[in-house]
């Protein structure tokens, strides 16, 4: 008697293997090329270039500030979207997700047309507080936060929806107030999702290009972040562009390694 062949995930149709391999090569080969083309012998000197360090410092600083802005505004937004039923919630969720699919340069134009020094909000900022946002590191932070916040909101909202609400109910029956429940039960429950969302948000902010160059301009040490520096270096010294790209690649790999438990389960 023949036993029916077990349906195993190890037996994919042969025809899928070739496009699968091509897909892998397509994603990996350009990065391999980047690593191979790197001017390894002069790498330390190029990395020690004050201009590179300035761009790196600015990028790390602005991405971290943007993540802070996203945490302060995005976590409450995610909580409301996940836990508070209100009419039009689907629309609000769609609006929050919009920057995720919007070309970043459009975000930059929109920010400029609202926060520019002669515009709707920007003119009031200038006349009331003497603040002019375009061409400042603060503009870089805003551009990055605009583009990166949906990543955080979606991750945290997903974690909140997946969390077991019975713990919160139990805390409530034991007399905990809303703030206490949020602080002592809910947030610890979603901490892994929150951390992953924050890291993703930070990585997106670090890589931001289109909204930044449109809204914040480009000036070394002030608004010229790593991606802008890569773009500019490609026109003057391509080897420098490769070095800067390697740094960003290294940061990305480090982020992936840090999140591997979440995204790449070992099984």
């Amino acid at each position: 008697m023949r036993t029916p062949r077990a349906v195993s995930t190890g037996r994919a149709p042969r025809g899928l293997l070739v496009p699968a391999a091509a897909g892998l090569a397509f994603l990996v080969l350009p990065l391999v090329g980047l690593v191979l083309r790197a001017p390894w012998s002069t790498l330390p000197d190029r990395l020690a270039d004050p201009a590179v360090l300035a761009a790196l410092r600015l990028s790390l600083l602005t991405a971290t500030m943007a993540t802070a802005v996203c945490l302060v505004l995005g976590v409450p937004l995610a909580y409301v979207l996940a836990r508070v039923p209100f009419p039009g919630r689907g629309v609000v969720r769609a609006l929050v997700t919009l920057p995720l699919v919007l070309p970043p340069v459009v975000g930059g134009v929109a920010l400029l047309l609202v926060l520019g020094r002669r515009r709707l909000v920007g003119s009031h900022l200038a006349s009331w507080f003497g603040v002019s946002l375009p061409f400042t590191p603060a503009a870089v932070v805003l551009a990055e936060a605009f583009v990166a916040m949906p990543f955080l909101v979606i991750a945290v909202e997903g974690a909140l929806r997946g969390a077991d609400r019975r713990y919160e109910d139990a805390a409530a029956t034991l007399g905990a107030g809303r703030w206490t429940t949020l602080r002592r039960v809910t947030l610890p429950l979603v901490a892994p999702g929150l951390a992953a969302g924050a890291v993703l948000c930070w990585a997106r902010a670090l890589g931001e290009f289109g909204a930044t160059i449109t809204f914040a301009g480009s000036f070394p040490g002030r608004t010229q972040t790593m991606p802008l520096a890569v773009y500019l270096a490609l026109e003057t010294d391509p080897a420098d562009a490769v070095v800067l790209s390697l740094v960003l690649l290294g940061v990305s790999v480090a982020i992936l390694a840090g999140l591997r438990e979440r995204w790449l389960p070992s099984r």
């Binding site: 400029l112 520019g116 020094r117 002669r118 375009p134 061409f135 160059i213 301009g217 480009s218 000036f219 070394p220 608004t223 010229q224 773009y231 500019l232 490609l234 026109e235 003057t236 391509p238």
Partner: protein, 259 residues
């Protein structure tokens, strides 16, 4: 408006490059098509208006021919050419930038200068801050946009500022002259160093302020047919057309100086 048209042109150019590549890859070569009737021209951003006109005139002269234009900072275009972008003609805003293409062996023949241009200080209509020269730009609270140093207009700005002995910190260094001018047109800066022709093309939105030191930084515009041109005949014809009396009249009307 202009910028959108430029972007659109860039997008269609990208598609025009990508789609045949995919088809070629799929067929593994295939039979040669009919002789190409498209001339692909990469031109400095400051040539946007005038080359759009010249392209249209060229097409009118030769029915069935299409001129595809791509405008960007000269240094960015030079880098595209040297990376093998399939184009027929390259027109740069500086001899130095053109040299990077010729040195890489990507020019078919010797580049020829077809126009010259120089910088003005572009200020908002009516010159509200009363800017009269470069020294006025170094004052406190004056926001200035310049082109990035690798771009010809950025190099010219550096030369002019050095000639005037003026040290100023701009708020931004943009990728091409149109992007620099855009920051002024949007009202985000008080002044921008751009070519005389760009200020003129912006119409009455922008007032140009001439300054003597711009004579120290006159840009020459060389043009050349590219070695890897898919349409060498069209490339040579377009280069010849840009130097014809009809084209010189268009260039002069736009504010360019003869070579």
């Amino acid at each position: 408006m202009t910028r959108r048209a430029v972007t659109h042109r860039r997008v269609s150019r990208a598609l025009a490059v990508a789609v045949p590549l995919l088809v070629l890859a799929a067929c593994g070569g295939g039979a040669p098509a009919a002789p190409p009737r498209t001339v692909t021209v990469l031109a400095a951003a400051s040539l946007t208006e005038v080359f759009t006109t010249l392209g249209r005139d060229f097409e009118a002269d030769r029915p069935g021919t299409t001129v595809v234009l791509s405008f960007a900072g000269s240094s960015s275009l030079a880098q595209q050419v040297n990376a093998g972008a399939p184009a027929d003609v390259f027109a740069a805003a500086s001899a130095a930038t053109m040299r990077t293409v010729a040195d890489a062996g990507n020019a078919a023949g010797e580049p020829v200068v077809f126009a010259r241009n120089q910088l003005v200080i572009a200020v908002p209509r009516g010159n509200p801050r009363g800017v009269r020269g470069l020294a006025d730009l170094a004052g406190p609270g004056v926001k200035v946009a310049l082109c990035a140093p690798p771009v010809p207009c950025g190099a010219a700005a550096r030369t002019a500022l050095a000639a005037a002995g003026v040290a100023l910190t701009p708020v931004t260094l943009e990728q091409d002259v149109k992007a620099t001018l855009a920051k002024l047109r949007l009202g985000e800066v008080d002044a921008a160093l751009v070519y005389r022709t760009d200020a003129a093309a912006a119409g009455d939105q922008v007032t140009p302020v001439e300054f003597p030191e711009s004579a120290a930084a006159v840009n020459e515009y060389p043009i050349v047919a590219l070695a890897g041109a898919p349409n060498p005949g069209g490339a040579a014809a377009f280069v010849a057309y840009v130097r014809s009396p009809a084209a010189v009249a268009v260039l002069t009307a736009a504010g360019f100086q003869p070579p």
